[in-house]
């Protein structure tokens, strides 16, 4: 277990893939590097990416509104880590990023080793992209002075607080629509699906899609399956989002799962003397620290996604709690900073836009959250079972708060998948995945007839980074979907 995790992740492990867990990766890199827009989407001009070592970038022209291919276009930025050995090359593997908010800066930068990109390169040209509105794919722009403060209520928000949030969010979103234009209304998973299909046509026109989709990427991939299922050759969904339920249900599952993860973390501390809080009551320490330093709650909820990873997971969380408990907040500051959105972009409008992007995608897919009464009931049910993290239900940055004040209806509302038989799809998940609990994966698996199922008994978000067994099975599956049995269980 531990040796496995040594292989994982650099210092920025946490800037992971899930806005669902509230982790906005560094968005919007230097805007100076204008994307070279190819005149024809079929001919890609790969050149070294300015800011990402060992990676090539190219631009692909796509319509803002897939339903109007002759309308306004923009350049979608692709990234590629080309296959190392042409003799062993199996083709193109598309990594569909999660978040929403992750792009190639993340996939080929901070997350590169965690997602084993350079292992995958032994067989594939590994390609990823900045999804629309992200990074250098026409990044969303919003008024910097309209960015609302993070909404992280201590308890259950009052109606007045709820309305204040709706007002602040609405004003912020309005500024994004005004500054970004039409793209702001085309951020749903269904819109990204059209981009993925254009990528496939450009990269492997005569072959089906071979892709790995983690976290929110699994929602894009599931939508692709619905829209263009017969173009799939092999597809892995990992750390799965279930779009058959409404946003309060999805968020409630996430919060309960974070709570479970915290309990497992506390249990580990009890049992393992390597835990800096060993011998102390972890829950009590957390509660005391949270009372004086509320942002510890946010950090702990986020970092649970890193599982047992020594640098960002349980040991680091325990260390941080111990330090803050002793009055030292330096580790907390450092980690909070590493995980904050906005990243390195210089344009303050793009920095602000990165804060709106997750809402833009989530609310297009799940719709605005207006019903205070219904949310109150759902929030109370969460509070009953996960009192320590119940506030997370209401919060922004992966809570229902993200879509409070969203000005339009869902363009791709929740629904069960309508897809045919797909033995060439694998649904994968860890048993203890805080942002995307196993329940999501099993629900989605049941919606895809004949799909393969992989469950890895690990802590952390997405099975591939945390389980060597899962990675190997997924790779075998991508190379030959028929080589993997209906169900794969990975003991670690």
């Amino acid at each position: 277990m531990w040796s496995l995790h040594k292989a994982i992740g650099g210092a920025h492990f946490l800037a992971v893939t899930l806005t669902l867990a509230g982790l906005h990766p560094a968005a919007g890199a230097a805007p100076s590097g204008a994307v070279d827009v190819a005149s024809s989407p079929q001919v890609l001009q790969w050149t070294a990416c300015p800011n990402i070592p060992d990676t090539e970038c190219a631009g692909l022209d796509v319509p803002v509104d897939p339903a109007r291919p002759d309308g306004e276009h923009f350049a979608l930025r692709l990234g590629r880590a080309a296959a190392k050995d042409p003799a062993q090359r199996k083709g193109v593997l598309l990594i569909i990023p999660g978040g929403p908010g992750v792009g190639i800066d993340g996939m080929f930068g901070q997350l590169r080793s965690q997602f084993r990109i350079d292992d995958l390169r032994r067989w594939y040209d590994v390609v990823s992209f900045d999804p629309r509105g992200i990074g250098q794919s026409s990044p969303i722009r919003c008024a910097p002075d309209a960015v609302p403060p993070a909404f992280e209520p201590i308890g259950h928000p009052s109606l007045a607080e709820f309305r204040a949030l709706a007002g602040a969010n609405a004003a912020f979103f309005q500024s994004c629509f005004a500054a970004t234009g039409e793209l702001m209304a085309h951020l749903s998973a269904m819109d990204t699906v059209a981009d993925i299909e254009r990528i496939r046509q450009a990269l492997s026109p005569n072959d089906g899609l071979v892709a790995y989709a983690g976290s929110y990427g699994s929602a894009y991939a599931a939508a692709y399956l619905e829209r263009t299922g017969d173009h799939v050759k092999a597809l892995v969904l990992d750390g799965v989002v279930d779009h058959s339920v409404d946003l309060p249900t999805l968020i409630a599952r996430f919060v309960l799962s974070v709570n479970d993860a915290f309990d497992r973390f506390a249990q580990w501390c009890d049992q393992d003397s390597a835990c800096p809080l060993h011998g102390r009551n972890v829950g009590t320490v957390f509660d005391a620290v949270a009372a004086t330093t509320p942002k510890i709650r946010t950090a702990v909820a986020k970092f649970m996604a890193a599982g047992r990873d020594p640098r960002q997971g349980w040991p680091a969380i325990a260390q941080m709690l111990a330090q803050v408990s002793a009055g030292d907040t330096s580790a907390l500051e450092k980690l909070t900073h590493a995980a904050s959105p906005g990243g390195t972009a210089e344009d303050p409008w793009i920095v602000a836009g990165a804060k709106a992007l997750p809402s833009g995608v989530l609310c297009a897919d799940f719709g605005p959250q207006r019903d205070y009464e219904a949310l109150t009931a759902a929030g109370a049910a969460v509070a009953l079972r996960a009192p320590r993290f119940a506030w997370r239900f209401w919060a922004t940055e992966a809570g229902v708060g993200d879509c409070v004040g969203w000005p339009s209806e869902a363009t791709n509302p929740p629904h069960r998948l309508q897809v045919g038989s797909h033995p060439n799809v694998m649904v994968a998940n860890g048993t203890h995945d805080p942002p995307t609990p196993l329940i999501n994966a099993l629900a989605v698996w049941l919606q895809i007839p004949e799909a393969r199922l992989l469950i890895a008994d690990v802590d952390g978000h997405q099975s591939l980074p945390f389980s060597r067994c899962a990675f190997e099975a997924q790779l075998r599956f991508l190379v030959d979907p028929t080589s993997v049995s209906t169900t794969t269980l990975c003991p670690d």
Partner: protein, 492 residues
Amino acid sequence: MPHRALVPVALVLVALFAFARGTPAAVAQSGAPPPLQWAPCDDIPAVECAGIEVPVDHARPDGATFTLRLGRLPNTDPAQKRGSLLIIPGGPGPGIKIILVDYGSALKVDELRRYFDVVSFDPRGIERSNPLRCAPELVPPVIAPFDRPPTREEFEAVTRANAAFYRNCFELTGDLMHYLSAMDTAGDIERIRQALGQNDGLVASGGSYGSGYGAAYLEGFGDRVKTLVLDGILDHSVDLATVISRNDLSVQASFDRFARWCAREPACALHGRDVGAAYDAAVAAAPFVRKLVAQFLAGGNDPESGWSLIARMLAEVVAGDTATLDELTRIGSLASRDEDPQVRAGKNAIIPGVFCSDSGPQRDYAALLDAGATVARLAPRFAWKFWVATPLELSSAGVLMCAGWPHEARNPPHRLPAGGSYPNVMVANPTYDPPTPLSNAVSVWLQIPEARLLIADADGHQSLVVSRCAFDAHLRFLLDPASTPPVTLCPD
């Protein structure tokens, strides 16, 4: 024949038939039930029996009653005793003798007895609990076509023959025949709980169709459950044609796994040969080989009872030797040995009696033809199972057994009602369970909030039978549900 070869018999009995559950009418709370009078069973060596009076119709507790027979293997270690454990029989068909004796070693009853009085019962309509009675001369003949769907004329002929038979059973059996659904048995289970003095809640384990009774109990009496394990699960949220289709597809998948095992395992009697071709040749020589193969696949790859036995039978039949075939035919027979010819004939009605009460009559020939065609495409060697009309003779449930059923479903398919929280319920299944595929268990697990999930990576029916790890986890859970994590994966 070695003792272990007995396992598949009961296995299959408990196996091939789906279950159901319902919304039981509230069972009137009787006062303190009279103490049970345990005495040696007159027909089952080494087991104690007792009878309780239960209403034929739980909605009319003051109406007609009958005697439900309980069986018990007393606790063997008083120092560790935790009370009673009720094993809810599957089938439908098995009762005390099969569960506690014939199937006792597979269910590891001796290990359970160290902690519990292990109790089971003859479910209503079975053995000594008011067995169904029918006229022997009206038992419908085996006419299921094996190589094609039935014609409309054949469908109608089966419907007429079944209707005449079932009407006669209603007449000879009396009122009880109207009350055979899972919700009726759930009412009996509540009476058993009261009689056993499980005052702090039901402690029970239900496998195969017994999981359906267990789920129906949960639906009707969820607040009286202390600890409940459901294993080898069928899903009453879907209609009969879907239940049967999933079963057939799963048997086909198991056959394919069996064939792959033969290809790599020198100990397989068909090693080095084309298993599919051997099967086809054996079936051509002895048509009932197909029934035994489907039935004994439920034994998984147990060295003495599952795949190796099937391979031996096929190899022998192809070579003109019927020794193993005859032995498996004898072991696999589900027929009653009761001396009363009407009770013997009644055994043919119990499977349809329960199934059709739970799933309703099958009247729509065109819809069945469609569903059957899908099965034939995906599971060509087992498409015949879909159409089975005579489950007792063919050891397999099929849709035609409910053609001609004279009443509407008493407990029609439905999802378990949402709400509640059941960390004291465990849903367990092997990854490759021929009669009850994992998808059933996952579907049911998603219907029971907070339920524990156990998946054992094993072939065969019911995880506690085919996986030591699963049995150990079951036992731990029964002794202390709070000790069990939300998800348990057993590597074998």
